[in-house]
Amino acid sequence: MADKIFRVNMADLTTSIEDIPADWAGHGGRGLTSTIVSAEVEPTCHPLGQNNKLVFAPGLLSGTAAANSGRLSIGAKSPLTGTIKESNSGGTAAQLFAKAGCKALIVEGLPKADNWYSLALTPDGVTITEEKELIGQGNFAVVQALENRIEGKHGLLSIGQAGEMRLASANISIKDPDGSLRSCGRGGLGAVMGAKKIKFITVDPKDGKVAIAKPDAFKDANRIFAKALVDHPVSQALGQYGTNVLTNIINESGGFPTQNFTKGQFEGHESISGETMHDTIKERGGKVKHGCHQGCVIQCSQIYNDADGKKLTAGFEYESIWAMGADCCVDNLDHIAEADRIMDDIGIDTIETSVAMGVAMEAGVLPFGDGAGICKLLTEDITKGTGIGRIIGNGAGSVGRAFGITRVPVVKNQAIPAYDPRAIKGIGITYATSTQGADHTMGYTIATNILNVGGKVDPLTKEGQVELSRNLQIATAAIDSTGMCLFIAFAALDDEKCLPALVDLLNARFDLSLTGDDVVSLGQHILKTERAFNTAAGFTSADDRLPEFFYNEPLPPHNVVFDFSGEEIDTFWDF
């Protein structure tokens, strides 16, 4: 089946299926969402208004048997940052979108009536239905209700109360193979879906399949690719401890932001570490290893049970645990897991909301370390949309403005995640220059030496460090287009067979003859496209800066500050 663009206009409740414009054909995932948003969204529009569009795109390899290829990208102009935004996640939806022959779903306009709707996508198109029953409900209730309402296996994307209230931290949740939720967490895309009055989207590909141009070559390449992933020691660490394996390491480095970024080490880190979490999961009969989508061979996710052995949360990630843990000084893993579950249910970004809580704690809204208080605030204030609930639900910047706090760890109004840029300066360059606000996943470590994008300038100079960060972002943008999870990066970096096998997978899928250089060009094109959108939206180099306190508040225990000047950071865009 030839892939198509599916379009929904919420203003007149019409739908259509279109051929793919030639310019878009070579794109998938982030490359495609950013290309479409750049082409069709007025950069100065209000993110929650009629001119913003919400774009869903599976990766180039999604829907195939390629290992770890089930990430779905969602793009729009972000209500949190005001920049272009792409957020991607696992779950079953990417593979089902691809199998349904949907290269991208574009949702535009706002409904005229004050009604809520759901969308049902099949290979035949999209059906819009008015929704009443599930309005005001959390994501888990939506998953449960649709299990009963719809026959057969279907993909599901939904928003919780946070999206309905159009809070700037609202996410879009995607059902995973076990009925747990994965999130396109960052940038408030759930608020855009809420503005369009769409509570949920189901995806049913019927008996659709993804066509592979050269099946034998594809199979061979996938065998090599999957083996490289499985054998790599980082994959093994991820499979055993999840991403939370990083807690002890980052704390040891002094770069573990604690008590709203006032310290680099958290006394209670051992109680929330990946090692402690691993043992707790085992003792309580949870799952240490779990894939966020079928075909994941690394399985960094897990199922965390409560003390009674009942499932509490899934996909319990380092950045979420850090944010609710060290940044808010909570050393009780069960409170953090409970907060994680509530945030999944409300449909709100765990990083943004927890960092906002840290700023609120500094403002005296609740004491540092009050895990039970955080859970109560989430349930009674954010879920119900009280004044303080909305202030926190609109992110760390919103809390800082409401309470006159100056130590607000955001770039382009998006919360800085779990690695303090004073102690790990390379990440600071990524935070400052990312087209999408502070985001650790924007400059992941991918094949810099194999792709020969490692840099030409001495990496020990500031110029070389900026160049290295740039090349990481270029490579990351390309990988984000394939539908691959970023954890393939380590094998791709170290195993000389892995990256060529990934390129071979793309070639076999589409009958192309791409090389590593094409991958680099794709990444560069995506970054430039996103940057052009932001410039047209009014962003300048003055927005590519870290908050002032990173320059003048030394971070214990190493007592270091971030020391890249504005001019040095600005060289990032010299390409």
């Binding site: 002890n248 390491i249 051992e270 570490s273 691993h278 390379g426 960060s469 380590f490 970096l493």
Partner: protein, 197 residues
């Protein structure tokens, strides 16, 4: 490495399937006596199971006093150096801190500029073992007996009460004691020697 601490000794026997869970106590660190100025690689080499290959291939992330280290000839000196060992870690941060990594250029320079006290004779090293390193090398260390600080050990057992139920016997000064006495004795000392098998 010499055992010179005058502190209480405990011997725990634990259900074999639960033994591995006790290796997590090593994330808080064990104390080892060594010679001031000993190269880090040689210090590690003297520990059970830390062969040159294991240190070279598996121990991919090393921190000395919170600074990532690439060079195994770095001497251990100063007052109570803290050494932490980990396998290869994910994320850009993991790559930045990885030994001899291409991305190490993105580290902040956290080496102390003030000169460390170059004392002679013995020194006490705190060695933290994280993730798979603790699981792979911890059992042997625990079997031999390790010196640990009691404060983190008490937190460990208070947060992981179920582990106390996996202990079959606790011996202290050739007498068997119960877990309540064990915890009470822990709170009376700053550090203890503990053998777990």
């Amino acid at each position: 490495m010499e055992d010179q601490h005058p502190a209480p000794h405990f011997q725990l026997t634990v259900a074999s399937d639960a033994l591995i869970l006790f290796t997590t106590v090593l994330q808080s660190g064990i104390e080892l006596k060594s010679r001031a100025g000993i190269p880090m690689g040689r210090f590690l080499n003297e520990l059970p199971g830390f062969t040159a290959d294991y240190i070279g291939d598996v121990v991919q992330t090393i921190f000395l006093n919170g600074t990532a280290i690439d060079d195994l000839t770095t001497p251990l000196e100063g007052h109570n150096p803290i050494l932490a060992l980990s396998a290869a870690m994910p994320g850009l941060a993991g790559a930045i801190f990885r030994k001899n990594s291409f991305h190490s250029a993105l580290r902040t320079d956290t080496k102390k500029t003030d000169s460390v006290d170059k004392q002679q004779g013995n020194l006490t090293v705190t060695l933290k073992l994280f993730n798979s390193i603790a699981q792979e090398r911890g059992l042997e260390l625990l079997k031999k007996g390790v010196w640990i600080k009691t404060k983190p050990a008490l937190v460990f057992f208070s947060k992981r009460e179920s582990l106390l139920q996996k202990i079959n016997t606790i011996e202290f000064e050739k007498k068997t004691i119960d877990t309540a006495t064990f915890l009470s004795l822990l709170s009376q000392s700053e550090k203890i020697n503990i053998r777990i098998a």
